[in-house]
């Protein structure tokens, strides 16, 4: 592959690739949630987005509170262990301050939508939804006949985001992205999209990536832009880099209950900071140190190489 650098800064990547009205997937299942990118989208004032995220998490609460998204495509409307997303709930239950369009699936339904999108299939079948009210709530979940004579089966349509944004532990300059730990649906969501933005804890030399090719989850050919963004997943976590800020998740619940408090939070932590580095400085050394993880390295594997020297033909 040609040595074309895809490295850019996050603000430029968002300015270049995220436009009003787009369908944007921001994946990361409890792990590697692309918060820095979401905050940059808020700062740049994007509007009318359709946000696709299996577990909307605080990230959706924040993007929706900031007025960036009008539609949410998701499969679980809470923030993991820490309770409700009240901005999302206010809009769904009371259209306060505006309604939110919701398109609801189950987890595997969302994964199947990305898989179909990634493989350019029209839809994907799964053994869920029979007997459920979900297809009545979401007409996109449909039942089809099995052309091979088996029972009918429900299908979900391909999802092709305009942009997918993910956060990862590391990438090289060509955009070969390596992740470890919980991988969610990031590979599927990336291949499903027309444009892929990746923020990473570290940009490493190609030799580091190529020393362990099986760890590459999204090859460079599927990636549009890479931004170096340490701490870019806080308050979620990056396996082996820093842990989840569980206290922050608990603090969000009371903030989220009060729209004025959400807006004040956005001012202090998004609008008033220019980038993630400034956000981390505001967070403070002490809090950040508290999220440090101890080492637990994997054992290296041996990929081997041809033992007898191969003559280079020139």
């Amino acid at each position: 592959m040609a040595e074309t650098s895809k490295v850019t800064d996050l603000a430029s990547a968002v300015a270049a690739h995220v436009a009003d009205g787009m369908v944007i997937a921001m994946e990361g299942f409890g792990h590697l949630i692309p918060f820095a990118a979401a905050h940059e989208i808020i700062r740049q004032g994007r509007r009318e987005l359709t946000l696709c995220r299996m577990t909307p998490d605080l990230l959706a609460d924040q993007l929706i509170a900031a007025g960036c998204a009008r539609r949410l495509v998701a499969s679980f409307f809470a923030s993991g262990s820490a309770g409700s997303l009240h901005e999302v709930r206010r809009r769904i239950e009371r259209a306060d301050p505006r309604p939110l369009e919701v398109e609801e699936y189950s987890h595997y339904g969302m994964v199947c939508r990305y898989q179909a999108g990634a493989a350019r299939l029209p839809f994907f079948p799964l053994r869920s939804y029979a007997g459920s009210d979900l297809p009545k709530l979401n007409a996109q979940i449909r039942k089809v006949g099995d052309p091979y004579g088996g029972p009918d089966i429900y299908v979900v349509p391909a999802l092709r985001p305009d942009v997918t944004v993910v956060h990862a532990q590391r990438a090289d300059r060509c955009g070969n992205v390596q992740m470890w730990g919980i991988l969610g649906a990031q590979q599927e969501a990336a291949y499903a999209a027309r444009t892929v933005i990746v923020t990473v804890e570290e940009i490493v030399d190609a030799e580091v990536i190529r020393s362990d090719p099986n760890r590459t989850v999204i090859p460079g050919h599927a990636v549009t832009a890479v931004a170096h963004c340490p701490g870019g997943a806080h308050p979620s976590y990056s396996q082996g880099y820093y842990d989840r800020d569980n206290a922050f998740y608990r603090e969000w619940t009371p903030i989220s209950r009060d729209r004025a408090a959400v807006l004040a939070w956005l001012s202090q932590w998004v609008y008033e900071v220019p980038d993630r580095q400034a956000y981390l400085e505001r967070l403070g050394e002490q809090r950040w140190t508290g999220l440090r993880v101890a080492d637990r390295p994997s054992q290296p594997v041996n990929y081997g190489r041809r033992a007898s020297p191969v003559l280079e033909h020139s």
Binding site: F29, F77, H107, R127, G131, L134, R244
Partner: protein, 262 residues
């Protein structure tokens, strides 16, 4: 063999419910565990009646060996030292839909007599009075796990209604009503553990029955708190209390920070 001394914890306590849930895992191989009380139950089961139980999480972790109590199903402690971490496509497609899970743990806002679950909407569909978290993986776990255990934190006609406000994850009974050819491999809900009783559904197409009544309560009280005219199992008995060792493990080794014990 002497019976271990029972604990006096209240039947509505998390300790009691977690210990009852843990007992259901005797002899099981692979459990799909959720956050909260199921986390306590699977941990307790591994320390007592089933050390070989394999813990699987919808985040893609199989064979978790957490060194600390997990705060959520995507906690880093579930990953470090796990036997495998796979993509969600492999987890839901191959592990769950492929038929490798024998027990799934589910929570719900409402359970009906057939063991169908509502985790989506209370009230009107278009203008809900409460918007619940929705399907998550429950709609997949229900048809594909061998059986499902539900833990409810309330036992009243609101939580166990005559009719669900919304069915997120259907019992095989509802699937059969839609299309008999689509009936899933799983049994659906086998057991519902509440602060008052243990309800069991021995037949795949049958109803929940009052099978165990917690100490200090009567069958009549449990019937009165249920939203339909629930039948009583012929061998109904009193729920066995947790042992003192169960409660000690939960408090002093499993959840020392009282994250889920309340």
């Amino acid at each position: 063999m002497t019976t271990p001394p029972p604990s006096a914890v209240a039947p509505s306590s998390t300790e009691f419910l977690a210990a009852v849930a843990a007992r259901q895992l005797a002899g099981k191989t692979r459990v799909f565990a959720g956050v909260g009380l199921p986390t306590l139950a699977v941990d307790l089961a591994r320390r007592t009646i089933n050390p070989g139980l394999e813990l699987v999480y919808e985040s893609g972790v199989c064979g978790a060996h957490p060194e600390a109590l997990a705060e959520g199903i995507a906690d880093s402690v579930l990953v470090s030292g796990a036997e495998a971490v796979i993509s969600m496509h492999a987890l839901f497609g191959y592990v769950l839909q492929g038929g490798h899970i024998d027990v799934g743990f589910l929570g719900a806002a409402q359970v009906d007599r057939w063991g169908s679950l509502n985790t989506s909407i209370i009230g009107d569909w278009d203008k809900p009075s409460v918007r619940l978290p929705g399907a998550g993986g429950a709609t997949e776990i229900m048809p594909n796990a061998g059986e499902c255990i539900v833990v409810l934190r309330r036992h009243d006609p609101g939580a166990l209604p005559q009719r669900l406000d919304f069915c997120t994850s259907p019992s095989p009974v509802r699937v059969r009503d839609e299309d008999v050819r689509m009936v899933p491999p799983g049994h659906g809900v086998s057991t519902v553990i509440t602060p008052m009783a243990v309800l069991r559904r021995p037949e795949k197409f049958g109803e929940l029955l009052i099978s165990e009544v917690h100490p200090g309560l009567t069958v009549q009280e449990v019937k009165a708190a249920t939203g339909w005219d629930i039948r009583v199992a012929p061998d109904v008995c009193e729920t066995a209390r947790p042992t003192q060792e169960d409660v000690r493990l939960l408090r002093e080794e499993i959840d020392t920070v009282r994250l889920y014990l309340r």
